[in-house]
């Protein structure tokens, strides 16, 4: 196991690198390679960007990130906010295309989270918690 860790940051874009780096350090301890660490950073960045832009929608708030894991096996990342809930199924699915006319940017962040992590689970309005996003990635996963 790696030591469980927790960080709370203001929900602002200037905190994204800090939040992503926090996850990257834990991922390195688990034993992910550099490319996979970048993917984990990206998933955390996209998740937190969505929270800042949509859940808090310009209002002040906090993002809490909790990370645990097992060496050479997996990392588990839980991100909690107190903003507005959203329905992930309502987000237009991003479909990669080679056509500049057809390319859309909607759903890009969610697409990247699902591409980079093995499991992505949203829960909203959890009593005593708030909105909770759980993401897991295995060392031998995608």
């Amino acid at each position: 196991m790696i030591p469980r860790r927790r960080m709370v940051a203001p929900a602002r874009h200037d905190q994204l690198a800090r939040l992503a780096s926090f996850a990257a350090a834990a991922a390195a301890e688990v034993g992910f390679d550099d490319l996979q660490i970048n993917r984990i950073e990206l998933a955390v960045d996209e998740a937190c960007s969505n929270i800042i832009d949509h859940a808090y929608d310009g209002q002040s708030g906090e993002i809490a990130i909790e990370i645990s894991g097992e060496r050479n096996h997996h990392v588990l990342i839980i991100i909690i906010d107190q903003g507005k809930p959203f329905d992930p199924d309502s987000v237009q699915e991003y479909v990669p295309t080679a056509s500049l006319d057809d390319a859309k940017v909607g759903g890009l962040g969610l697409h990247l989270m699902r591409q980079t992590m093995d499991q992505v689970c949203f829960e909203f309005g959890v009593p005593g918690v708030g909105n909770r996003l759980t993401m897991q990635k295995f060392v031998r996963g995608r």
Binding site: L16, A17, D34, D53, T97, A98, V105, H111
Partner: protein, 130 residues
């Protein structure tokens, strides 16, 4: 403690001295981390390039170590604007991390990507002569 992300852009033009056959090609070299907190720096540089008569803009990403969807959106918007003037946004020298993200979202098939700045200049010259 806040650890701010940083992105630095350098702006220049490509083209042989004395070559007056076409507008100079703006070359933007970015380095650092391209996320929601820094994307406006690149966006402003691209806007300055778009305000010239240039049909083609070269963006050197060799020193960009990280890109999120915020950066991807700006690149797509810029390429569309240049396409509307029958030009292009030519990207060059993607790092492994950036290439990985491009592959995940299909941008590798959507953009003209040069392996080096020299190759990007050659591609841009093709637009000038074409």
């Amino acid at each position: 403690m806040t650890m701010p992300a940083t992105l630095v852009v350098r702006e220049s033009t490509a083209g042989e001295a004395g070559d007056s056959s076409s507008a100079p090609v703006p070359v933007i070299q970015a380095s650092g981390r391209l996320d929601a907190s820094t994307v406006s720096i690149l966006e402003h540089a691209l806007m300055r390039a778009l305000h010239t008569a240039a049909k083609v803009v070269i963006l050197d990403l060799s020193e960009v170590t990280y890109i999120s969807s915020s950066g991807l959106r700006v690149l797509l918007t810029c390429r569309r604007q240049l396409r509307d003037r029958r030009g292009d946004l030519i990207l060059c020298a993607l790092s492994q991390n950036v290439r990985d993200v491009f592959d995940m979202v299909g941008f590798s098939a959507l953009f003209g990507i040069a392996e080096s700045l020299d190759q990007a200049r050659q591609m841009a010259a093709g637009y000038a002569s074409g």
